[in-house]
Structure formats: structure tokens, C-alpha cells
Symmetry: C2
Subunit: 353 residues, 2 copies
């Protein structure tokens, strides 16, 4: 039996209490300062309001003010905030982490320096927490796993990734169940970059639905699946190229942390919905400021961060101007309200004319 | 201006008359002996009954008995039968091909020798046609392109592949339009194997819908997208492995001819429908013999051919017993009515216990 402290009571981290509890571990679910309502609900009835399910009765809910108590004696610390909270999370972990703990990062994303250098979030956290970074082990979970399905124990396949195989093996053993299938990989960069960059392309998978709506083609026998698949294939190419650019193993993009994750992300969610509005012909600024005001769009945020970094990296000569054409186009759509004219001929290395 | 003879008036080959005609080429659409109704309809009204659209008025329909007339003077010969007709096609091409012609194969699949050796269909055709094989050039088209969408000129991205770059360039120029986006690749094996093997996995993408139906979960907020994505990711891994096994470039599996094509194939069609019936709990033999009797299932046929070949290749020591676990499982489902218990732990190189 292990003791697992979870910081951040978001849907993904909370759903992950299922396999942990089903294996008999002690699970301490610690809300952030923004999660007080969630923790109050879990304490009162077990219901996680954003997941819509009652968590296992053994999950121990903690308010943020009790975080140090929850971390004391924990073997594993799971990091479950969204990517916007990563700097805040670094500050908290700096004071909360205890030497010997194993950190499992759920949050996905990349952070860019002013010169365009991109970093995976576990690296950002390691820098933020200071000396204790060397006294804990760092791992992350990637792969196609919607929280809502995990919350009701539907099958999911994921990868635990980190630099140390022994740590991965022991962590994976804590979580494997009949429905939560865990593989391990030491290609930390490759898997984290794949999982972060695939979010860029979910937005583009929404365009087709919007175009169909705008044209009254929703019930047409002729959909836009070829269009969607062309975008998916170019997205896959760019995910593989990002992995190579940042020094990971591009073949990690072939599996769960790459195209597998991109597949589930393409099936729906907020970024796809935002893309559909753009597909209808609505400028993205109006989607952001009016139609979906206040809605967290992690995929769009990834486009802004990565697309912006690409410009710096191109200026520095580290990326060719013709590389990552779909990311660059999506950046223009979300930052400059570019019209939805897909630059097909720039894809796949460029189509000769 | 070029003259293009199309042998086989199936939906894909017929839809491809659009870009050819839009570029002003002469297009001769030759039905097989099974296509007389189609040719009669196209001659009478232009309507292709299986596509449900009227073909360009300039398409010249030919009955099979007129095939030699159609081939005479053609610069390009497109091979458009389904994979079950490939041996028949070889016999026809043997007498019809004229030295100097460029052959573009639309048909997808692999053929297995008795010892399990697998061959791409252009290779099968080359063997079948005899000496004239050396006097023509061989190319194929792959990528995510549903015929119904191409028939109404919706965007599609494809790859023309073959051993000779100059032939590919000239062929691609004949077909590129504002909606039909053509790239080229000399990784003939890689693209053909990717396009053929991706069909194996479409069947598995249907399972989830059947499971949801059988459980009355169709309208549940909790679907089986994680389950589908795990199968997709393993399918992607196996596509890449097949490409490597047959001597192609595995990175061809990352793009249009691999995961891009698998994506569109996963979105629907007959193989997905058959998989859904299995997902409901119906043994595949009943699906084949009763529920979908007489329906052509190219994906299931690919499972039978490739899964059978894997057994031979494993006996010969050319493939490890643990390789291609999803294909082997699907083979057991379609050949032995195996129950739908996904062997998750065998995926991705095997999950340590």
C-alpha cells in the first residue's frame, strides 16, 4: 500500500483516484485555492461536481490550507492542475515536496522562453522547486484518457514516462487495474512533447463541423472526412517533428502519447468546439471574447505558446520557415483572425506545383 | 492534355474522373464485366448509380468489351477494381497494356504466398502481366480519400507513390486541382503497406459503438473514446511495424498513407459496421453469413490474409509470436469467432505485470 497525495482536484487528477483506490492505496485529494467547492462537495457526499460522479468513499479530501498535512508521509505526489497553473504549482511544490517522494505530473503543455526555447512542464516544475528537485523522482502520465470515462472505469491505455525505469515500474504497479492499462517509457521528452503538441491540432479538427453547419450540409451524405484526415495527417507529421526538434524519439509519436492521444482529442471537447465556430466563419477573436468567453481552451493556448515560439526559433535559424505550416496557420487564425483558407500545398514538406 | 483509361468503374476510380476532367484530360471509363449497369447509366444520363452523382459530361464510358479501344492511345491506365478482383485484373492488363503507358493503381491490399510472404498489389500485377510490366511505369495512389466526397469535389490529400520520381511528378501534375491535393513519394512499399494494413484496424474501431448499444449507453455522457483510442494507437504501431517488416520506410506510416488513412477509415463504412455488430456480442460468423451476408468487407479480408500470413511468418521465425497482437486477435475474432476480450496487456510491446 502506498500513500498518494494529489494536488489539484481537477477532473483528470480526480478520476485517477479510481485506479489508485481500487488498488487499495491511501489517496489524499488536495484542492487548490480554486477547488474549495469541489472539496466541500466531496467531503459532504463524495460527489465530484465537475466529473458528475461520486468518488470512491476512501478518497480523503483536503482543503488547500491542509496541503502540508496531506503531503506529509505521502509516497507519491500527483500534480493535477491545468497548464495555466503550472507556475503557481511550482511555488507550492517548492514548499510541500518531501525528499524521497515520486512526482507524477498529469498537466500537459510546453512553456516557452523569450528566445523561443520550449520546455516540457516537468522541467519547468523542476526549475521552480529548487534543490528538492534532485531529491524526488519525476514522472508524467500521457496517453488518450478522457477523465469522464476513467471516472466510470472504462478502459484506457496510458504511458507513465520519466527518466528512471525503476521508478516508472514501481509507479505503474500502483496504478494498473483491469481497466487502467499502464505502459512505461523512458522517452520522457518524446512523450511529453507528443502529448503537449497534439493539443494544437484538436482545434483544427473542429473546422469541418463548422463548415458543414455554415453550408447546411450537416445531413449531407458528403461530409468532410477527407479534409479532417488531411489535417490529422499533417498534425501527426508536426507532432513527430516537434518530438525530434526537442530531442525525443519521434517513434513515440506513433503510439499512445502521439497519434493515440490526438485521436481522442480530435473526437470532441472545447477546442474542437472553438474550431467549429471558426469553421462557421466567425473570427477567432469573437469566439474567444464573446461566444466562448471565459472558457478554458488549453489547445488554443498551446497554439499561442508554440506558434509564438516557432517564430523565435525560425528567426534564430533553428527551424526552417516552411516547417510546421499547420501550426503557423493555426497561430495566424487565433492571433490574427486569419480567414480559414487551409494552406494545403505547404503541408507534407510542400507540394510541388 | 493526356488520355486516361480507367479500368473498373467502382466508386473510387469513378470519383477520380473529377480531377482528371477538371484538368481537361480525356477520360475513358471502362467498366468490368460486373459494371455493365454502371456504364449503361453513365451513358444514358451521366449518373454513377453507386456514387449517386452525375459524372463530368466529358467522361467517355466504355463497356468491358470495348476495353481495347479505350486503352489504345491512352497515356495513363488507372486500375480501379476492388482487391478481390486483382488476379482477374492482372489477366486483363496482360493483354491490354501498351508499352509506354503509366499505370496508377487505386486498389489497396496485400496478397500472401503459401509461406506467408506478403506482396503489395502493384507487385502482384507486375508478375501477372508478364513482359509488358517492364515497358510501363507503376504507381499507386494512397491516402485518406473517401470516394463520395471526392465525387462532389471536397478537399482531399493523397500521395502518388512509385519507384520513379519523374513519373510521379508527371502523373501528379495531371491530377492536381484546387481540391485534390497530391504529394509524391518513392517509398512505394511503405505507402502501399500502410494503406493496405490500415484496413485491418477499421473493423476494431466499430467495437465501441456495439458495446455502447448492447449496454444501452448510446446517450451516456461516458462513451468509449479511450477504448477506441487505445485500439487506434496499437493499430498505428502495427501499421508502422508492417511497413518495417516489408522493407518500407516506417515514417511513411506517420502521414497520409498511414495514420491519416486509418483516421478516415475509422470514421465509418462497412468494416466499422461489422465491428459494431461484433461489439454487440454477435459472433463474427453470424455477421458474415447472416447480418451482412453478401456485403464486401475489404478490411475483414485484409485481416484474414494478413493474420493468416502472420502465422506462417511466425512459424518461419521471421516474426516474433508477441508481434502484431491486435491483428492476431482480430484474426481470431473473424476466423474463430473469438469473444471480444481485448488483449490489452499484449499491446505496445507487452505490459509488464
Amino acid at each position: 500500500m502506498a500513500t498518494i497525495a494529489v494536488l489539484g482536484a481537477g477532473v483528470m487528477a480526480s478520476a485517477l483516484t479510481n485506479p489508485a483506490r481500487d488498488n487499495g492505496h491511501e489517496v489524499r485529494l488536495v484542492g487548490t485555492h480554486l477547488d474549495d467547492d469541489v472539496i466541500a462537495s466531496v467531503r459532504a457526499t463524495g460527489l465530484h461536481p465537475n466529473l458528475g460522479v461520486v468518488l470512491d468513499a476512501g478518497v480523503k479530501p483536503y482543503y488547500f490550507s491542509q496541503a502540508a498535512d496531506a503531503f506529509a508521509g505521502a509516497d507519491v505526489v500527483m500534480v493535477g492542475v491545468n497548464s495555466f497553473g503550472i507556475d503557481w504549482m511550482g511555488e507550492q511544490l517548492r514548499r510541500l515536496l518531501v525528499p524521497g517522494q515520486r512526482v507524477l505530473v498529469v498537466t500537459k503543455g510546453l512553456q516557452a522562453d523569450a528566445d523561443g526555447s520550449l520546455h516540457i512542464l516537468p522541467e519547468v516544475l523542476q526549475r521552480a522547486v529548487g534543490p528538492v528537485a534532485e531529491q524526488v523522482t519525476w514522472q508524467a502520465v500521457v496517453g488518450p484518457c478522457l477523465a469522464a470515462e476513467l471516472a466510470v472505469r472504462r478502459d484506457a491505455c496510458v504511458v507513465f514516462t520519466g527518466p528512471d525505469q525503476a521508478s516508472l515500474d514501481s509507479l505503474a504497479r500502483l496504478y494498473r487495474t483491469s481497466y487502467y492499462h499502464v505502459w512505461t517509457s523512458t522517452d520522457f521528452i518524446g512523450h511529453e512533447v507528443g502529448a503537449a503538441t497534439k493539443n494544437v491540432f484538436a482545434f483544427a479538427q473542429g473546422f469541418a463541423a463548422g463548415i458543414l453547419r455554415a453550408n447546411g450540409w450537416e445531413d449531407s451524405p458528403h461530409q468532410l472526412l477527407n479534409y479532417m484526415s488531411g489535417l490529422f495527417a499533417q498534425g501527426s507529421r508536426e507532432v513527430h517533428s516537434y518530438i525530434a526538434l526537442l530531442g525525443g524519439d519521434p517513434t513515440s509519436g506513433d503510439g499512445l502519447g502521439g497519434v493515440g492521444d490526438m485521436y481522442v482529442t480530435s473526437m470532441g471537447g472545447r477546442n474542437v468546439k472553438a474550431g467549429a465556430l471558426v469553421g462557421e466563419g466567425i473570427p477567432f477573436s469573437e469566439v474567444r471574447d464573446v461566444r466562448m468567453k471565459g472558457v478554458t481552451l488549453e489547445g488554443v493556448a498551446a497554439i499561442v505558446v508554440i506558434g509564438g515560439a516557432l517564430q523565435r526559433l525560425t528567426e534564430r535559424g533553428l527551424v526552417a520557415p516552411g516547417d510546421f505550416p499547420l501550426t503557423r496557420f493555426l497561430y495566424d487564425v487565433v492571433v490574427h483572425d486569419a480567414p480559414l483558407v487551409i494552406p494545403w500545398s505547404s503541408f507534407f514538406g510542400g507540394e510541388p506545383v
